[in-house]
Assembly symmetry: D2
Homo-oligomer: 374 residues x 4
Amino acid sequence: MKPENLLMIPGPVQLHERIIKALGSQMISHRSKDFEEVYEYCREALKPLFGTKGDVVIISGSGTAGMEAAVASFSKVRKITCVSNGKFGERFAEIAWRYAEVDHVKFEWGDSIDLDKVRESLENGSEMVTFVHNETSTGILNPAREICKIAKEYDALVVMDGITSVGGDEVRMDEWGVDVCIVGSQKCLGAPPGLAAVAINEKAWEFYNERVPYYLDLKAYVKKAEKNQTPYTPAVPLFLALKEALKIIEEEGLENRIERHRRLAKAVREWAIEAGLELFPRLNEYSSYSNTVTAIKMPKGITDSELRGTLRNEFGITISGGQEHLKGKIFRIGNMGNVSKREIVATLAAIESVMLRKGVEIKPALNKVYEVLG
Amino acid sequence: MKPENLLMIPGPVQLHERIIKALGSQMISHRSKDFEEVYEYCREALKPLFGTKGDVVIISGSGTAGMEAAVASFSKVRKITCVSNGKFGERFAEIAWRYAEVDHVKFEWGDSIDLDKVRESLENGSEMVTFVHNETSTGILNPAREICKIAKEYDALVVMDGITSVGGDEVRMDEWGVDVCIVGSQKCLGAPPGLAAVAINEKAWEFYNERVPYYLDLKAYVKKAEKNQTPYTPAVPLFLALKEALKIIEEEGLENRIERHRRLAKAVREWAIEAGLELFPRLNEYSSYSNTVTAIKMPKGITDSELRGTLRNEFGITISGGQEHLKGKIFRIGNMGNVSKREIVATLAAIESVMLRKGVEIKPALNKVYEVLG
Amino acid sequence: MKPENLLMIPGPVQLHERIIKALGSQMISHRSKDFEEVYEYCREALKPLFGTKGDVVIISGSGTAGMEAAVASFSKVRKITCVSNGKFGERFAEIAWRYAEVDHVKFEWGDSIDLDKVRESLENGSEMVTFVHNETSTGILNPAREICKIAKEYDALVVMDGITSVGGDEVRMDEWGVDVCIVGSQKCLGAPPGLAAVAINEKAWEFYNERVPYYLDLKAYVKKAEKNQTPYTPAVPLFLALKEALKIIEEEGLENRIERHRRLAKAVREWAIEAGLELFPRLNEYSSYSNTVTAIKMPKGITDSELRGTLRNEFGITISGGQEHLKGKIFRIGNMGNVSKREIVATLAAIESVMLRKGVEIKPALNKVYEVLG
Amino acid sequence: MKPENLLMIPGPVQLHERIIKALGSQMISHRSKDFEEVYEYCREALKPLFGTKGDVVIISGSGTAGMEAAVASFSKVRKITCVSNGKFGERFAEIAWRYAEVDHVKFEWGDSIDLDKVRESLENGSEMVTFVHNETSTGILNPAREICKIAKEYDALVVMDGITSVGGDEVRMDEWGVDVCIVGSQKCLGAPPGLAAVAINEKAWEFYNERVPYYLDLKAYVKKAEKNQTPYTPAVPLFLALKEALKIIEEEGLENRIERHRRLAKAVREWAIEAGLELFPRLNEYSSYSNTVTAIKMPKGITDSELRGTLRNEFGITISGGQEHLKGKIFRIGNMGNVSKREIVATLAAIESVMLRKGVEIKPALNKVYEVLG
């Protein structure tokens, strides 16, 4: 029997039974009172997760749609500084050149951001900075507060990809000075993929570009949101699921949720080190390890498909490999959403089991997990 | 007790129980073999519905996202002729000006398209024609074959909105000469909202514009589709549901499905006429009544909210009103997707009941429905 | 396409979407706090439906299990009077002979109960009377209050089958003097089949027979219910569904629910008469038509399988035929549970359509339905 | 956040997603072709699991209902030998006295059956022997083959409780000489609780007692089963779920399924021994450890509620404690149904974690699990 699948990847995440049930609902009209209540609930419940009092709208589309909506809607700028140290940071640059000149401040995947380079770019006249808060491809948490501080010195608009941090780690848009921030439904929020929420503060509208793609025009979303509607037919089932996911977050409490994510990620890291494995990110004084996904170097003696294939086939556990040039060089364990201790011990025990069987030189280290998760 | 809701609107449509179950599934990775099989199935199963042997890709977004992807991806043109006779035809024009000069050939909502005006516009140098096959806002079916014939004379690219016809009425892209066609998941396909499929023939690529919005870049979708993947995280649950919806279509047979839609729409129309109501569209020799949605003028003696509100509250039936300036002037009954005789008789009987109670001068006319549906 | 099925039979009934969702839940331990809360809720919520302040327990089994548990648990009697005028009344007699001597006071199916015959039987020394409140096989409502009055004169225990009345029509155990009453989950409660609830008043225990079948021993159920548990593993999913069904009843309000059942049944009856059909039951001054199921004589010109088969295949509507010797002679339309006007108009319109097509001499009569349900 | 629950108890078991979906279905009539197909499938698919070519019928009720139906239906005997060495063996005796004289051959809970005592009882004139194959309360597998051999010498009818072995361990009714055997839906079959299947061979009918309780009369079930129906309204959703569960078994293959159960139970046992814990059952040459549930003595330094409460609250894992006088003295881990390696490593790691934190003197021993499950 092929075991049922457990997703331990950095999104899409495993769905809580309540969310599956919300998803599996008969359709309702998107112009009904019922839908309006769902949308209103979602928008309001997302605000504290973004750490903002500003507007939040939801696009039926992936996180990438949210990133492009953010950049394109506010692209009445001459130059954009795109800071990257991983796949998703680079994606911002791929989007941005369609709307303005781009200065791509690019670091190696896994490296930390050198803030001086960011300042240098701004010094050269950028009016917008884009960066990724939690770089999923490498397991690094970038210094959002510090980047904002520099951007503010130059009065540049800050567009932050919070796709894999909002709802799982601390995000304080208003306090830090993030102007536009994006989150994906299928990450720390614990909902299925297909929705991107964008939080927008007042300043952003100074940069509004009316030639923004019609489908991604945040002004249209904000305007319709006044009546708790969307400009185009929304992906209704995903909104029903998102509402349930946000109710679960509310029940848990944001503080508790962030603390849980942090502790689970710490358990994974300490297990890895105790086992004799090596974490992938190269930190500097401003960066830290991600609290929602851990990237670990693939040890000698086992291939990507041996590790991940066996986990999937025998234990029903799906973890992620490295992307693009990191393929086969790292593996990644997500702990986003509604993950508990149980899934963490199962995943780490399963990895130990597979590695030991293959003769990889690691030391069983679940005791560390027991310690951290206590 | 508020009765459970039955959607008789032109999308989103009532979901079959099998589709609800597919929707309510635990998540799978979008990079898994399992998802690839789902995506492959959907793309292949959509081709006969479009009447094409060309490529089909699926965007996580509403029908509007599909419309914009079509126009923007192939916008290496100087001028676009946007033919409209209703809300959705006009939407094409709102999209198109972002990418090229627009010649809006605009008719009154409810009027038929004057083909001479289309030819005139093309004569003036357009390289693309956009139009809506089945204009949902007014219940009219536009002459796709004739418009294509004219466009071909001028070698213009034809982009057709088949959002509410594909899967419910006859669409023959390759035969008619439609180059790019869009369908929405929540209409005649019977799936939940949130996906737009775009069918593309070879010719379209001559007009590919690489500055197309990143999220709507059909080249990226086509390239990834070679491995049955999507460029960005897809709305996985909606794909699972779409697959089930397409299986139901396959089981019914496309011919039977189109025949069923036609007969149900005919029953609604003949009932309306027998009852003493008036159909809204003004046909000419090329246009016909829609086979997927019927627009009927609101009779004297009842308001929109009296009719639709009572239907919803007492019978649990949701029908549509008119949009924008037609608000209160018409009501619309959809018969898209997996609707059977039962829903039609229930809806028409309920409308009779409400109208008669309000003193509207209509004649009970279910006997006509019995005749047509026999 | 075969339309989705709508059950208009006297149980199992169509499930509300909320109940389907409750049913489709991951298992919980039947010895957990969670289950105990569910069981407690169900027992308490059932009491007002029975009209009792006494104990209510729930058996995992069909209504028949409940009937037998009631008779067997309290069978320390010499003789039982089983009053019957239909299939389910007769079932009591089939059960009762296993536990005591039986005096079967038997009337023709469809006839009303002659109370003098009941009195006569009691006069001859019975200590228990069994009867069916709402006789589903014939669509008649028996005079519970009157039977109880007579039984009380002779101090006999009253065991009433309320399987198809409790939750849909008025039942007042304590007021009327019913000592033990049974309801089935899949009838007016609107839940799926598989549970039988038994309400028991104090007097019943005087007749407790300890040789009752182990599985049907109501003393064991009552004892375990003190801790909100069941003596044997319960059918957990059915309890989850029943809880949701009872919540829906609470939200509707029992008064409203009974009123709705009565009005819907009245609409069916008046439609039948107006159409020229004939109701099956032969009433006397004490009996009345059932408010939860209507039995109508099959008219000339159509067979059972033509009527019910066509309804099922073309309209997706399932109604019931006659049972045993009534097969082909009557058809029965249930309106138990969470049925709304919509299902009634759909069913009656569909029956008209099928009968007219077959040349049956009826007169379309939905106008009567509009009047009654107005 | 309270983690989602994982049931590792000896029933009800965790449901596979496919089974949950089957459960959450709209109702169908129990007199429809659709239901008949479901019932036929279930009956046929159960036969190989029982190891019989005889009849199989399914009662809507718990395993206990099945036990009583078996004893009562075939109770035209003077005396019954009830062999017990645990809670469920004793239950047979509690049932049997209602139908005949009982000779209770009773062993301590956890002890093995002394076959000489069985023979002795039969020597004294019993015509039926009852026993439990897999005694869930103590984790022991009783010697079915040997008991049958002795019973056959005396021509006694053998009624075996296979409630927690059929579908998870080897059962060969026809080969061993078991005449009547019962299985519960919520154990090794992996379905929800609420159904009991009874397999019956020809010989049993010689002992048919027509005064059997009406609801538990196996003759009525067998007769109706000829048309793939049940005598009373069945718990339809549970049958839909059982069908899906049986399809999963068919897909896995019975051999593989038994092998998986055996290996998982072995992993639990070897882990326990390596960790320094003690298994509860006291084997003799004929008995063996259960392959579907493992009973382990509670070690010093931790209470039942500390162990099981923490597992449930922090890890979302439910295991069982001891029953009645064994409460607090043992804990039990089920591996029935569709359990994979993942759930086993998660459960054992969680137990280690909780015990170590409480200072219990155990040695982490997951390496043994890795070895056995390899």
